[in-house]
Amino acid sequence: MRPKGKLFALLAIFAAIGLVTATGAFTSVSAQRTVSVDIAGDSAALVGIQSTSQYAYENNGQFLIDFSGNNPNFPGGAEGVNPNATTRVDYLFNVTNNGDTTIDIDFIENSQYISLYNSSTPSNGANVTGISSGSTIAVGIEVDTTNLNEGQGFNTTLTIEANSQ
């Protein structure tokens, strides 16, 4: 009787393996994987944006350039830039590549009144290519109020586009 028991056990083994690894049809399957996405403050995020002047600061983690009386750091109670003038501020803020890949950075000024430039090489504009991981560029701003009068202001957004190479 003992040999018969062995045969039954072997059959049971192969039946079990067949159930697990067969390539036959299935209904549907699903599995879970980990993906961690956090929102960091602008200064510490993938594209790090850090103020280097009193005209820019971070508000609730979001970088803000503020040439108005609302700016708590604005000097001497000033309430804005001069009308019908061109105002340049070198080294307004830094952009740091906090990611692990080399990136190119394009600045898209969504306003006719401002233009950005690389503080190190002002004549070349602000866009920079080949910023390696951990590297920083310094950015300045020119505010042109030639067509604006006293009391007129504007709000706009600045798009910083970083593309890895």
Binding site: V29, V37, A40, A44, A45, I49, N155, Q165
Partner: protein, 699 residues
């Protein structure tokens, strides 16, 4: 080999068979999700794949964008992040799901999003695709909960293909939707929709090439006509007068939730909202989504100085449905954008008063075409702008957020003003203000007398804290009867008796407290009488009475001796006893030490007490109630502060908000009453008439 060793082998083989399909570390550096079906995930051989994806020690793919988080209020695209491949022998459908569909999108080039079974990607045997990750944090701040912690990957067999049918008509309508199959050219083409009730055009793939799809929130069976028109038709109709029109900021309450572009909310029309003088009411911590989509700018030039439109369509809905909200999807050839930023296109809606820039997102990108999706509050002519320069800035408290849609939460009850600043391409601005009343959720505590006798009415008191709005207290007793009011009287039976108190304020916030009250012979007298009646030793009972009387005599004697003044001396026998320490003689009931500068702030519609201080020398304060009555004695404002164990209560500039529909007037006489109670059931109250002041005083 014996049977024991065979069992061991069986267990080993079965265990091996189970491990293989669940993702062991593979020598080829991929996450073998399933042996059958043969699906693997692996970081793409690219800078992004190497930087942000890896196969962990558990053999599973892991994506890390938390060590260095993404930027707030930004669009982050991680291209070529990981590969997904079918190493099996049959065609498979693969899709992903996760909890941040509105902000995070996994997609495959030339296919689009992988989210949901409806967007499943078909992988033939041996085929692999590279997955990109798009993270949209527009309107979101830094910090807080992680945006995403996991995703689920699903695999299914490809269903057998049915017999091919004739291609559908290029234009359809009905069933609440319609698609127009206009080719990507400037030539006019009129679509005559035919009802196709079996079609489900709710997916991006339902948009015919070059076409437009309309999905009404409230479906209709009547046809919808979609016509692509030349952009010059719109430009020719505009003149300098339109260019001179100022922008107009309009704020509307949209419901966010799972809809990333928001739906209009009818809640602003609620009578209680209007009565409160607010635009909307939310609860503490509740998410509020506001949309700038109904704002207007004057002309095409106000949207883009270069008047650049890449597509224009006219959509005609059945009569009477022109102001119906809907979702519109359009396919636009990428060639028309001529290298401009593809993340910026916006669908605009032409109205009699100018252009509305609709909340727009890209829901697909395939075969050189973008699929745009926009929410519209109505119908007319629409245009796709490639480089719009209309800007929206929200300001709340001391914070400015640049976004078309604002999502926020308030933790402080009371009124909060939110402003929207709309700037057109000329730099002209307009501001609108939205008033939000943040309602607190009431809290309640039940005050039960210490002496509770079965069958005798017991007065219960609800201590309610509810800063905003008038609250109603409803009591539910064991027999099912209900009473309303801060106090309730009920004769309980002996034993554990459940009660329930529900506090509901006029703005819909409710709190329910359930409590069990034990009713029994708790007073000393009751205990003694019970024991005598039940035949317990009479001597013991009399002894207990004697002892209590003796202690009472000592207490009264000490009180009188501390009084020091003349008075009646009771004939208390002098007893010599060992010292038992100081007796707990209380310091008396609570005292209102200061009730100063009560004022009526007419402009800001509220009452204030400049300085309020209450002390409880004999116990701990439990409740402070402030009630304001008008000249006729009607209660016009009420506030209850629930305290736990504080020996004093002091505030500066205490605010009491009036009930809804109460108009605060400078020429009205009011009386402010403050009442405070402590845990020894000691109470004190005091009244004072406030003085009307301008809104700026004490604000």
């Amino acid at each position: 080999m014996n049977l024991y060793s065979l069992n061991t082998l069986a267990i080993a083989l079965i265990a091996l068979g189970l491990i293989i399909p669940t993702g062991a570390v593979m020598a080829d550096g991929s996450d073998k999700v399933w042996e059958n079906p043969g699906i693997t995930l692996s970081p793409t051989d690219s800078p992004n794949g190497e930087a942000y994806a890896e196969i962990g020690t558990d053999g599973n793919l892991t994506i890390d964008l938390a060590t260095v988080g993404v930027n707030p209020n930004a669009l982050t695209t991680i291209r070529n992040l990981f590969d997904i491949a079918n190493n099996g022998e049959v065609s498979l459908e693969v899709w992903l799901t996760h909890e941040s569909a509105e902000s995070v999108r996994f997609s495959v080039s030339e296919h689009g999003t992988l989210y949901g079974e409806e967007n499943a990607l078909t992988l033939e045997p041996g085929q692999g695709k590279t997955v990109d990750l798009l993270i949209d944090t527009k309107g979101r701040e830094a910090g807080g909960e992680p945006l995403l912690t996991s995703f689920d990957i699903h695999v299914d067999d490809v269903e057998p293909t049915a017999t091919p049918e004739e291609p559908s008509s290029p234009s359809t309508g009905g069933g609440g939707s319609g698609t127009g199959g206009a080719p990507p050219s400037d030539s006019n083409q009129t679509s005559t929709p035919e009802p196709t009730p079996t079609e489900t055009p709710s997916e991006p793939d339902g948009v015919e090439e070059g076409g437009v799809e309309v999905i009404l929130d409230e479906p209709t069976d009547d046809p919808i006509t979609i016509q692509e028109i030349p952009t010059s038709a719109i430009l020719d109709d505009e003149d300098d007068e339109d260019d001179r029109r100022e922008p107009r900021a309009v704020i509307s309450h949209a419901h966010g939730g799972g809809d990333p572009i928001g739906r209009e909310c009818p809640c602003e029309d609620r009578p209680e909202v209007q009565a409160a003088g607010a635009n909307t009411i939310v609860e503490e911590g509740e998410e509020l989504t506001l949309s700038a989509a109904r704002s207007l700018v004057g002309s095409v030039r106000s949207v883009d100085p270069e008047r650049r439109m890449v597509k224009a369509v006219s959509i005609n809905v059945p009569a009477g449905r022109e102001e119906s909200s809907a979702t519109i999807r359009m396919r636009v050839s990428e060639d028309r954008f001529e290298g401009s930023d593809l993340t910026r296109p916006r669908v605009g809606r032409e109205t009699d008063d100018g252009w509305q820039m609709l909340p727009t997102r890209i829901v697909g990108q395939e075969n050189g075409q973008l699929i745009l999706e926009a929410r519209t509050p109505g119908f007319s002519r629409f245009a796709v702008f490639a480089t719009p320069e209309v800007r929206y800035a929200w300001r709340l408290d001391d914070e400015t957020i640049t976004a078309e849609e604002l999502r926020t939460r308030f933790d402080e009850p009371g009124f909060h003003n939110i402003t929207l600043n709309v700037t057109d391409a000329f730099g002209r601005t307009n501001t609108a203000t939205y008033r939000v009343l943040v309602n607190d959720r009431p809290s309640v505590d039940i005050e039960v007398p210490a002496n509770r006798t079965a069958g005798e009415p017991l007065t219960l008191r609800a201590n309610v804290t509810n800063e905003i709005g008038n609250a109603t207290v409803t009591w539910l007793f064991p027999d099912g009867s209900q009473q309303e009011g801060l106090t309730a009287e009920y004769a309980f039976e002996r034993g554990d008796q459940p009660i329930r108190v529900t506090v509901a304020d006029e703005y819909g916030a409710t709190t329910t407290l359930e409590r069990t009250i034990t009713i029994g012979p708790v007073s000393a007298t009751d205990v003694i009488i019970d024991r005598i009646a039940s035949g317990v030793s009479l001597e013991l009972a009399l002894g207990t009475v004697a002892l209590l009387s003796f202690l009472l005599a000592i207490l009264i004697r000490r009180i009188l001796s501390r009084g020091g003044g003349p008075g009646v001396r009771l004939p208390i026998p002098a007893v010599s006893m060992p010292s038992i320490g100081p007796l707990p003689i209380g310091g008396g009931k609570p005292q209102i030490v200061a009730l100063e500068n009560p004022t009526v702030d007419v402009d800001n519609r509220r009452f204030r007490i400049g300085h309020l201080r209450i002390e409880a020398p004999g116990g701990d304060l439990r409740t402070v109630e402030i009630v304001v009555t008008d000249g006729r004695g009607n209660e016009v404002a009420q506030k209850t502060v629930d305290l736990r164990g504080e020996s004093y209560y002091v505030t500066r500039n205490e605010v009491v908000l009036p009930k809804s529909k109460v108009y605060v007037r400078a020429d009205q006489h009011y009386q402010i009453s403050v009442r405070a109670g402590d845990d020894t059931d000691g109470w004190v109250s005091r009244q004072q008439s406030p003085v009307a002041v301008p809104g700026s005083v004490g604000a």
